[in-house]
């Protein structure tokens, strides 16, 4: 896959937008998913993921071809998400509540639409709980945890994406894991 991507990037560097469309197709789900788990809101996740790709396109000339494209696009996306989280920090609690109710309305819809088997409903609730606990993590732990356990990337890749020493990445993952453990131990 990487060779196709490299070829497409050469075309994009010449300004070919169709080639860029192929790259977006290849990475859109992963980038969107990371943004969604970072931000906890579909609309915001879509905005952030789109912006990440647009920035990648605009800065494609500065893309170092020795790097994996995924590393680069994840770096842009996580930076954008972290910026967004920081910007809305003052009403952090309000936002948390809003996304909480968002989730609740989703449940009530599901519950009223079709009676789901109890197990499935349970797992929906569990999913929402886990998502909410991830969202409670400070953004620096959150990005490390999302990349590690949702994208299942190696510590080395995460250290490249976040542009941090390996030791720092480990510390963040340890702290994130520890915080999640405390929140999820009774689940």
């Amino acid at each position: 896959m990487e060779t196709i991507v490299k070829k497409r990037i050469k075309q994009v560097k010449k300004g070919d937008q169709n080639a860029f469309g192929e790259i977006v197709e290849l990475y859109k789900d992963r980038v969107y998913h990371v943004c969604f788990r970072m931000l906890g809101n579909k609309q915001e996740a879509e905005d952030a993921a789109q912006e990440a790709f647009i920035r990648a396109y605009m800065n494609i000339s500065s893309f170092n071809e020795d790097l994996k494209f995924s590393t680069w696009i994840f770096r842009i996306a996580t930076n954008l998400c972290i910026d967004r989280i920081r910007k809305k920090k003052p009403d952090y609690y309000l936002d948390a509540e809003v996304s909480g109710t968002d989730g609740l309305t989703m449940y009530s819809q599901i519950a009223s639409d079709a009676p789901l088997p109890e197990k499935e409903l349970e797992s929906q609730e569990l999913q929402e709980t886990i998502q909410q606990e991830i969202l409670k993590l400070p953004e620096k732990y959150r990005s490390a945890i999302v990349l590690k356990y949702i994208e299942e990337l190696s510590l080395n890749e995460i250290s490249e994406i976040l542009d941090l020493p390996l030791g720092t990445v480990k510390t963040r993952i340890h702290r994130g894991r520890e915080a999640l453990r405390k929140q999820l131990r009774h689940v």
Partner: protein, 209 residues
């Protein structure tokens, strides 16, 4: 029993797959004998399983189209190039056409000097060509970048390219008279001539056979 200071650190190292044998042994030994640490270790592993088990979600529909729609407009040059790459035959044809027009235009541009076809009885005075009264010029007369005055008779076609033609009342032309002044007229004339030449080549080939 007192828990070793680094016990939690060892757990994390273990979960990172980054623990040395000695530490792992110490960790195992302690976990076997300490219920509290065992519980913490179990909770950590469960947490990871829970987070990993969160369902994968896909980007919303039309995601790629929406991204492309937000990009600045593509340079014409690139889309033309891509089009050419996808239509090689048309590409070859258009390249040929462009080259042909190009060479014709450059011929036109270089072609500002006065010239006239060589025939008996033609008189040339400063950029003006005269067919004198009472004289007969045989063959096609072509004048470029100059004037042509016809007071006698031309037995053939007359073409004036980028110039003027004056036909006196006594003057007479047996063939066609054509004046070419604009680039496109000239191109048209040139192409007709080329076509005629091509046809002539085929016809002479036929007669040779």
């Amino acid at each position: 029993m007192k828990c070793p200071e680094q016990i939690v650190e060892w757990m994390h190292d273990y979960l990172d797959g980054d623990i040395d044998r000695e530490d792992q042994q110490k960790l195992n030994e302690h976990l076997q004998s300490c219920k509290e640490c065992e519980a913490i270790f179990y909770q950590l592993k469960k947490t990871i399983t829970l987070v990993q088990g969160i369902s994968q979600i896909k980007a919303p529909p039309n995601f790629t189209e929406n991204v492309l729609a937000r990009l600045p407009k593509e340079k014409k040059k690139v889309s033309a190039k891509r089009w050419l790459q996808h239509h090689p035959v048309l590409a070859a044809a258009s390249v040929f056409f462009i080259l042909m027009i190009g060479s014709l235009l450059s011929t036109w541009n270089q072609d500002h000097e006065f010239s006239v076809s060589k025939q008996n009885n033609l008189v040339v005075k400063n950029n003006t060509v005269i067919v004198p009264k009472g004289k007969v010029v045989k063959g096609d007369v072509i004048v470029r970048n100059g004037k042509l005055k016809i007071e006698g008779e031309v037995q053939g076609d007359v073409t004036v390219i980028n110039g003027e033609k004056y036909l006196a009342s006594a003057g007479h032309v047996t063939g066609e008279i054509e004046e070419v002044n604009e680039v496109f007229d000239w191109l048209w004339f040139y192409m007709k001539k080329t076509a005629k030449d091509v046809v002539n080549i085929f016809e002479s080939n036929k007669t040779e056979k």
